[in-house]
Amino acid sequence: MIKEMTTKELARKVIRAEPLFILDVRNAKDFVDWKVEGKNINYLNVPYFELLEGVDKLVHDLPKEGEILVVCAKEGSSKMVAEMLAEAGVDSAYLRGGMKAWSEHLEPLKVGDLPDGGELFQFVRYGKGCLSYMVISKGEAAIIDPTRMTGVFLDFAKEKGAIIKHVFDTHLHADHISGGRKLAEVTGATYYLPPNDADEVQYDFTSVEDGMQIIVGNSKINTIYSPGHTIGSTTFIIDDIFLMTGDILFIDSIGRPDLAGLAEDWVSDLRETLYDRYKELVGNLVVLPAHFMIMDEVNEDGTIARKLGELYNENHGLNIDNEQEFRKLVTEHLPPQPNAYKDIRKINMGKISPDEEMQREMEIGPNRCAVR
């Protein structure tokens, strides 16, 4: 028997760390590049074109018990293989929309309450590691680092009865296409971008700089200029409770300073932000980054959040006393640049506007924003 599994159902399983066996029928190179991540997932990668003669041999390598999910790039091949398995007496599900859909799936999770009835939500893009946020308070909403699946944010705000008034990008992103401008256009909200990242930007925006305060209903967003990942990187503090660190500081790592090819220049800025600016802040602030890299960073409830004080205790990148060693860590042996990062930056600057299919293709694969 075959079933269809939606990305929503898969996200739920990932959050609950449910055991799952994934038969990934994409070609080996794509599988090695990125796959569905989860704390309790086992994998077998057999490209679908190696199964065209039949699945009899494969059946021996599959678990006799437990759920099997067949996954491919767009759904077609996984459905075919699931059907072949069914004929051989093996039950499985195939992922509707394939990895393409998984890459775009956003899971809204509540991170916490804000004073006087407000709420803060984190939108987790498990298939890529991007994190977006929505502050909702007294019928007003502010969105931070939205991805290009703007429909999800619009529908969510509508459901909560909130009007989107402010849309922010913590910095000019190189790993994903921002949905910020589009959201602002559709809703009439103000779109904010740090001016130091916007030298080459081709559209109008509102500057977000150090020491600003933006009111959202009963909540307030304070800004701190925190360069190092990019020269314009800006941090937001929500109601003195949550610290949105963009790509400067992650749960298990720190941001890489080289995505605009300027690692050397920005290392000192990064060090100052992490070791001075952030150190002055209260340890109880809950850090909410713009990305996560590994499942270890995911909490039991599926959110990615940790107290700043805890990070100063545990995060290796925050505990390198020697400046030379720090410099080495963030400039040497960096992972390969994220897929299509140069073109993604151009899109976010408004220089090029490829169609949706092209945008989708550019974003395939994991983000590589961190230094590990």
Binding site: N27, F49, L52, G76
Partner: protein, 77 residues
């Protein structure tokens, strides 16, 4: 332009159909013969290349005019 013994028009077909049809067509051909495949599915490029290697055929040439991808594959022994 490369010569071919047979031409498979797989334009407009999505994965897995381009390879499924390629295999079916190849099965009817003699070793040494060349199959020319036209497809619009971008994913077919990596998959066809890997499939050709795995099955012992030879990828002779590939072109991409932005919309249509063309492949010439010689059947192995």
């Amino acid at each position: 332009m490369m010569e071919a013994d047979q031409m498979l028009d797989a334009k407009g077909l999505s994965c897995p159909m381009p390879i499924v049809k390629t295999k079916k067509t190849m099965d009817t051909m003699e070793p040494g013969q060349v199959l020319e495949i036209h497809t619009t599915d971008k994913g077919a490029k990596a998959d066809l290349t890997a499939w050709t290697k795995t099955t012992g055929h030879e990828m002779l040439e590939q072109t991409d005019d932005g919309d249509v991808l063309k492949f010439w594959i010689r059947k192995g022994e």
